[in-house]
């Protein structure tokens, strides 16, 4: 088959080409203008949508990204293992973690390591939640708390103490030993449901 020669302009019947017609909104009539005035006027008598914030607090969505929380195992040991994955995942470089070894006298978490220093800088954090996805132990999650304003830079760098979740019923304040006859794997599997009396060494 011979090469196809493109048509010359003169051979094309360009007058028959259909130009697509687009409907323009055009100008509105007098009534259209009056409609606009009616909208603003009638809105005066509608209930404002405003939430009077400091007095009334609208609840956030369930999965709203608020302040972080460092969680505990049901016996009170910390979940964080100081792996720094959250810090590496953070796009804003807001997390600083320093891990340390657990010893028999000073055990903060099951397994070998725990997070010794844990800081989140809320001046940098963009609440993207990537740190939560990165955390292998579900140690780090987010709460719905959004009132994070303060008047100095230092106050907005949250330390481990500020971030750790509270001690709930059945929990003991670490450091304390692991549940008897349980390994860290049992911890992760959820076999430990509360503290054992033998763990209460601080009494």
């Amino acid at each position: 088959m011979a090469e196809i020669e493109p048509l010359k302009n003169s051979e094309r019947d360009l007058t028959k080409v259909e130009f697509s017609q687009v409907d323009q909104p055009g100008s509105v009539g007098l009534l259209g203008h009056l409609k606009g005035f009616w909208i603003t006027f009638s809105t005066i008598f509608k209930k404002p949508e405003t939430v009077e914030y400091p007095e009334v607090k609208a609840p956030t969505q369930e999965r709203f990204h608020g302040r972080h929380q460092l969680n505990r195992h049901p016996d009170g040991l910390e979940k964080c293992i100081g792996c720094e994955l959250c810090a590496w995942a953070c796009p804003a470089d807001a997390i600083y973690v320093e891990g340390a070894d657990n010893t028999e006298e000073n055990r903060m978490s099951p397994g070998e390591r725990y997070g010794k220093v844990y800081q989140i800088n809320y001046l940098r954090c963009v609440f993207c939640g990537l740190c939560i996805e990165a955390c292998p132990t579900r140690a780090l999650t987010m709460t719905n708390e959004y009132e994070l304003a303060d008047d100095s830079r230092a106050k907005l760098i949250f330390e481990k103490d500020d971030l750790l979740g509270p001690l709930r019923a059945g929990m003991l304040m670490p450091p304390h030993p692991m549940y008897p006859d349980m390994t860290d794997t049992n911890y992760y599997k959820g076999d430990v449901t509360q503290a054992h009396p033998s763990q209460d060494v601080n009494k």
Partner: protein, 415 residues
């Protein structure tokens, strides 16, 4: 006894008291209107507006004023210091001055003295208001120029061009009122409206005045001077603290002043609305002030309503509207009004007057129909020309060419 004679007999102390009252009324109205505007615009946007300071946020404007006064007062290094300081003073003082000739009440008794709440009554009162408004433009243009900065200069030029062009339309719209009232004194014009308001009789003038007063005060949708996206703050970009507060005050006093003038000239001033004339004697005549202020507030509401509804006009559209629509229309209207007035003053038979009026109406309709037809023809012409242009076009892609080949009815073998 006319109002002019009535207030002519005022002793000096009464004039001082009245001047003070006018000033206080202006300032209080301004504070209240700033609050009212923010509340109203808020409601139009389905939010409550300021409601924190004082009951219903009533003291908000005062709090803002105090805050402004406590701010640092900056004068840019490049500014022309003296003019920079004078400009806001000019703006603020001139807008108060126009209130001097506005009749707020009918005859009343103040401290046992028979008088009327009007500071002074000039035979050319309305011209005086227009003159004062023109002087006020100096405040704007001097502020823009003396700031020594680009945006204020552009904003100042813009708003002065705007104010000047809309003042022409405004002045022209007033002419028919003068023709009908036979006077330029504000109190005489009010007195001439006892039976019919000029807003009804001279409705086109009223409409033109209403439009141009929005343009004159630099308010939305004509607030081009403060088009934030283009000019930052316009002429007052470089102003801060009390000097800025003065401009702010001037803007609102100006709104109140043009509304008051509109009330005086078109809505019967302090007179009660039709069928409520008996209320004018209540409280020894002071009740008329309530009518006056309610009319002013209605105007103010319209100002706010416009701001809440309309988007800002483009500068060229705005100027075109002023010069090509408002001014010619008002000139034509003046011709019509003058003719009608002369006819009726010279005792022409009713038939002639009616015939003339209907002739004018027919003429307008004929012109309008011709105009619409021309517009339609122009549109059709555009549609007719929607064919391909005659100049050469770039080559179409090859794929399209092959479609053409298959559609080739003449059977020319293209390969």
């Amino acid at each position: 006894m006319t109002t002019a004679e009535l207030i002519g007999a005022d002793p000096g102390w009464l004039i001082t008291v009245k001047a003070l009252l006018v000033f206080v009324v202006c300032v209080v109205l301004t504070l209240m209107s700033v609050w009212g505007e923010r509340r109203l615009v808020g409601r139009m946007q389905q939010r409550p507006g300021p409601n924190r300071v004082g009951p219903f946020g009533l003291v908000q404007a005062l709090a803002d004023g105090v805050k402004l006064a406590l701010k640092e007062d900056l004068i840019p290094a490049a500014a022309d210091k003296i003019v920079f300081v004078i400009a806001p003073i000019i703006s603020a003082t001139t807008c108060f001055m126009s209130f001097a000739v506005i009749p707020i009440t009918g005859p009343v008794t103040l401290f046992g003295h028979k008088t009327a709440m009007q500071l002074t009554d000039l035979p050319v009162g309305v011209l005086y208001v227009l003159a004062i408004a023109s002087v006020g433009v100096y405040g704007i243009i001097l502020a823009g120029w003396s700031s020594g900065s680009t945006y204020p200069l552009l904003g100042g030029l813009r708003s002065s061009a705007q104010v000047i062009s809309y003042e022409i339309a405004m002045g022209l719209s007033l002419v028919s009122v003068f023709i009908y009232a036979g006077s330029m004194s504000t109190s005489d014009i009010v007195a001439a409206q006892t039976s019919w308001w000029y807003g009804v009789v001279l409705f086109p003038s009223f409409a033109i005045y209403a439009i141009s007063m929005v343009g004159e005060t630099n308010r939305a949708p004509f607030d081009l001077a403060e088009a934030e996206g283009e000019l930052v703050g316009g002429f007052h970009t470089e102003y801060s603290s009390l000097k800025f507060a003065l401009f702010f005050l001037a803007e609102y006093v100006n709104i109140i002043a043009v509304s008051a003038l509109a009330t005086t000239l078109f809505l019967g001033g302090y007179h009660a609305p039709p069928f409520l004339g008996f209320t004018e004697n209540w409280l020894g005549g002071w009740f008329t002030a309530i009518w006056f202020f309610s009319k002013v507030l209605v105007f103010f509401f319209v100002f706010v309503w416009l701001r809440g509804t309309l988007p800002r006009l483009r500068y060229d559209q705005f100027m075109q509207f002023g010069w090509k629509v408002l001014i010619p229309v008002s000139i034509l209207w003046i011709l019509v009004v003058a003719t009608l007035r002369v006819l009726s003053l010279q005792g022409a038979p009713r038939l002639v007057v009616v015939a003339f009026a209907s002739a004018v109406v027919f003429l307008i309709m004929a012109v309008n129909i011709g105009f619409e037809n021309a517009k339609k023809k122009k549109l059709e012409a555009i549609v007719d020309n929607a064919d391909a242009p005659s100049f050469s076009l770039p080559q179409l892609p090859v794929a399209l060419t092959s479609i053409n080949v298959s559609n080739n009815k003449e059977g020319v073998d293209r390969g």
